[in-house]
Symmetry: C2
């Protein structure tokens, strides 16, 4: 069994805008690179979502209609979006393989210290003035990333993948399984285990 992880920069390159046309192009390029493995192996594909979840957060803040959605929900949205793009590109490239995308939750600890020390950069690069404005406007934590600044969010330690059994069932049935995008949707166990 093989696991391939497509990094966020394979889907939106550093400094590129997260345009859909560009992402489709980048996804196709990434899929071409892995198609050789995908044609015969038992394969799981996972992917980053930094640029995409950052964009959804920006869009969510920009539209005054409703309060911005929290990051777990936005992560679920990116699993839908990127799962779809990767699944479609891989199906087009390898029409004989079954490819599916499964929503994936990962269990984390509510008291993980990462929640008070945001470290994972998401969304576009900003200059120092823009970064200061976003910090003031939305209370985002921003941090230096290369030559610019980006929003940083908590990246808690994953303890368990809640859909592990279903992933195995789908692999056993011969499907390529796309899952755990963006590291999975972080959830905490408050006593009702799934």
């Amino acid at each position: 069994m093989m696991v391939i992880a497509l990094g966020g920069n394979a889907l939106v390159r550093r400094g590129e805008p997260a345009e859909m046309k560009l992402q489709r192009h980048n996804v196709e390029r990434a899929v071409n690179a892995i198609a050789g493995f995908a044609s015969s192996q038992s394969l799981v594909i996972t992917h980053g979502n930094g640029p995409q979840v950052g964009l959804l957060a920006l869009q969510s803040e920009a539209c005054a209609t409703v309060k911005p959605y929290p990051l777990d929900v936005l992560n679920a949205e990116t699993e839908g979006m990127l799962g779809y793009l990767i699944e479609q590109a891989l199906c087009n490239r390898l029409p004989r393989r079954k490819v599916v995308s499964l929503l994936t939750q990962v269990q984390v600890r509510a008291d993980d210290p990462a929640f008070t020390q945001p470290s994972k950069p998401i969304g576009p690069l900003y200059d120092i003035e823009q970064a200061g404005r976003l910090n003031e406007l939305y209370k985002w934590t921003v941090a230096r990333d290369g030559r610019g600044f980006r929003r940083v969010v908590p990246s808690p330690e994953p303890l368990a993948i809640l859909e592990l059994q279903a992933i195995k069932v789908l692999l056993d049935a011969g499907a390529v399984v796309i899952c755990a995008g963006g590291g999975g949707i972080p959830v905490v166990d408050r006593g009702a285990a799934c």
Copy 2:
């Protein structure tokens, strides 16, 4: 085998804003109503996404950073978001059942007449002035819906569910399967069948 369809109005009631807190509450209420069936039956759950996909389209238009994403991609995002909310609520209510959400594409015809006759209302209700502005600003088709106006989008006839085999595999393994949200992500076959 039982199929339960949660209508868009079960998740965001008519006239309600699509706030996340309200949606979580409505999803929990809907899940409480179906939990009796879910505890023992072989069960597929599907759901509408009109208010949610409309909100994502508004957000996508409101943020000038990148061009608005097309409706197939936004539909995939809502499958992620609503799949997550329903899966989580059902897991909390029935901790012994496995519940999974599978991204679902439905094949449609590129020349389906629905593409030139948008009929499916999405997003919030507008008054006649707002509707006129949106039509002018975004070139949206708007139509009367009850006492107000809403954006309408094409609703092509579904021909096939591309992930049908995987849905069956998951059902056979004893999972409740959430799929085909928003009617599924509409795709056309240009010769490379998945």
